[in-house]
Symmetry: C2
């Protein structure tokens, strides 16, 4: 079995650890998370790493450099999933990091820094609605307000920590200091069709999009579907529908990406005019200014629509991450890695999706390697990668680590 | 206490029989339905009627005419409610019918027909999603497929009958023959603002709107909000939003009334492009042809929108009632009744909402008296009527019954 076969098999094996029959769902601090950590720890050990689970539930492994205790270059990704997920988003990056560390261990190369692999506990935010909990803990940007976040069953994050066998009071033990880190490299599926459209396998990521997310509410007045003529209606759903269409138009106009992923009308009777609509907005762009300019246009459009229809528009920001640029030196190393696979002029573009690097960038420099995925599909069981592309990513990732080492000046 | 005070008090008393604290909900065949039937039967008895609960759970009372066993003029409405209902929709019509029968009983007038009051068991269809179950049973248009309809707890209609103490096998006992009926008169709140805007109290209903209801689905493809560029998106929600806006535009254009009361996007992740949207359409008009013409335009618009966006549009009809004209003779009697209250030229217009008369019309001629309600509001706790309007409705309803008697030729 080749190393690539092993990586692919392990993706399948991780995908079998799910809280729901017939589909993949593995959320933060669940029993399945614990099982996945144990399996990843075993694979880390087999690769020659010493392992530990940190105080935030991140599964970690370390390969010392030419002497013990050197600062570490982190390689990693996350092992939590969305609901009904694919099997490569996150997990593939963890398994490639383990495979690269294993290769370097077996090769006997002594790096001028330690290598650490991190399988982040929570990137998606599926369970508690707050993303990047694992990487924020590592970066030391934890906010104690989060302890009272609740999941769909009303369990707080603090209770979930305890149920998992973690002590919230010990969380600062997961924080890392900048001086102990060399940087952070992550391989991830592109989650978009740019590589596929260009018939290329790998790309250098230039920055990670800044995203802002909002909970939106439009309030009108419920009424009888038959008895309320149009000039008396304050139909929250027709208003919200106009806003959804405007979000698409304005996002295209400004070169940003706006998505309404959630929308529900209340009270929801088939013969009752909706009195309230709750919906979401996720807006992301390469540059924060561009994103915020689009938001201003969306708010103005929503206010105009609601004023015209006698509706009220409310918004509440629930997430904000500014765009994070990748480090030029680490990007050069990723480019060197891709060239080592025979691609003389690697593509370079920004990540529309958020990643653990957004949080890790608060404590150390970051860069990312993107890998082609079929149809650009992710967050869906149809997520798919070619084995040959995984093989190329493994070679490129290893070469990138060696390129970081070659340029490293402690 | 005046008769009107008594009617208002009884509306309040019925409103206190609810399955939910703090709001009014009383659905078909619930324990609260049984309690309401018992109370209504007591009031019928006090009014001088002989009472029975029919094989469909309708609460009935009868006042014989000048000789026993004559055909009956039915007066009635329903005592079931929507969720979080007002206290006049349905109930007021039942209580006015009892009050009219009581007046005629006390007056000693011998009518050329019997008077029967019916408190229909189910008009709203709240519990089993199928409206008019009580009046359809009475009209003999029952469909045995309905026995397997289920409520939100998976209880079938047949099981609910048994739990209520009714035997499904005996249902045909509720069927009435045309030759035993003189007609059906109902008083109901307008559920619209036409009377209020015209500063009038009462109106003759000319016809009951034909309504068709559909479950609609738009299917696209879920995908990552960040990773899927606009030219690759098959966003079911933006497509559905365009359809919702078109439904409003085309309904206004054709003089019909279209309402989307339910809409939900799936899978519903804040950072996931909706792959499926489920929504409803309720379309009603004074004339069936006008309604169906609007539907054809809506379907064409939806198909165009979905074709342009790479989406699939599916529709499933879940309810259909053609427009029901009121009987000219009974309408004349209602008009006579309104004139008896001092309004020399009664307003006459069509009912945008459905009523028990839609079903009863299959077995006998029907007519309705509309009563002003505040702001046109119904299906909402804010539902409100003026006591003076109720007093006028009581007088008009009684006078209408006497006018039917005056013109009656057996």
């Amino acid at each position: 079995m080749t190393e690539t076969d092993l990586v692919m098999d392990r993706c399948d094996e991780l995908a079998s650890i799910s809280s729901r029959p017939g589909l993949l769902e593995r959320v933060h601090l669940s029993p399945e998370h614990k099982a996945a950590n144990a399996l990843v720890a075993q694979w880390m050990t087999e690769a020659g790493l010493s392992t530990w689970q940190d105080a935030a539930g991140n599964q970690c492994g370390r390969l010392e450099g030419r002497e013990p205790g050197l600062p570490a270059l982190l390689l990693g990704s996350h092992i939590d999933t969305v609901r009904d997920a694919g099997r490569y988003d996150g997990m593939l990056g963890v398994l490639l990091a383990i495979a690269v560390a294993g290769r370097i261990h077996r090769s006997g190369i002594e790096l001028p820094f330690a290598l650490e692999v991190v399988a982040f506990s929570d990137e998606e935010g599926t369970r508690f609605g707050m993303a990047l909990l694992g990487s924020r803990a590592l970066a030391g940007t934890w906010n104690d307000d989060w302890w009272s976040l609740t999941d769909g069953d009303g369990i707080t994050l603090a209770e979930a920590f305890q149920d998992f066998g973690l002590d919230p009071a010990r969380l600062p033990g997961a924080f890392r200091r900048s001086e102990d880190l060399v940087g952070y490299l992550e391989t991830h599926i592109e989650q978009g069709p740019i590589l596929e459209d260009a018939d290329r396998r790998l790309a250098v990521v230039t920055s990670i999009a800044g995203a802002r997310r909002f909970a939106l509410t439009i309030t009108g007045k419920a009424g009888h579907a038959g008895g309320t003529p149009y000039d008396r209606r304050r139909d929250a759903l027709v208003g919200a529908s106009e806003v959804v269409v405007e979000i698409e138009r304005l996002s295209k106009l400004t070169g940003t990406i706006g998505t309404v992923g959630r929308l529900q009308a209340f009270p929801g009777g088939i013969n009752v005019i909706p009195g309230r609509v709750e919906f979401s907005l996720d807006l992301r762009a390469e540059f924060d200014g561009q994103r915020d300019e689009c938001l201003a246009l969306v708010w103005a459009a929503a206010e105009e629509i609601c004023a015209r229809r006698g509706l009220r528009f409310d918004r509440h920001e629930i997430y904000r991450a500014d765009a994070v640029p990748c480090d030029p030196g680490l990007m050069r190393a990723i480019g060197t890695g891709i060239r080592a696979t025979g691609d003389e002029s690697p593509m370079a573009f920004w990540s529309r999706a958020g990643h653990d690097g957004v949080a890790v960038a608060d404590v150390t420099r970051i860069a990312m390697l993107f890998l082609r995925c079929r149809g650009g599909v992710s967050h869906h069981p149809d997520e798919h990668v070619k084995k040959a592309d995984v093989a190329a990513a493994l070679d490129a990732f290893e070469a990138a680590v060696l390129a970081v080492a070659a340029e490293y000046r402690p």
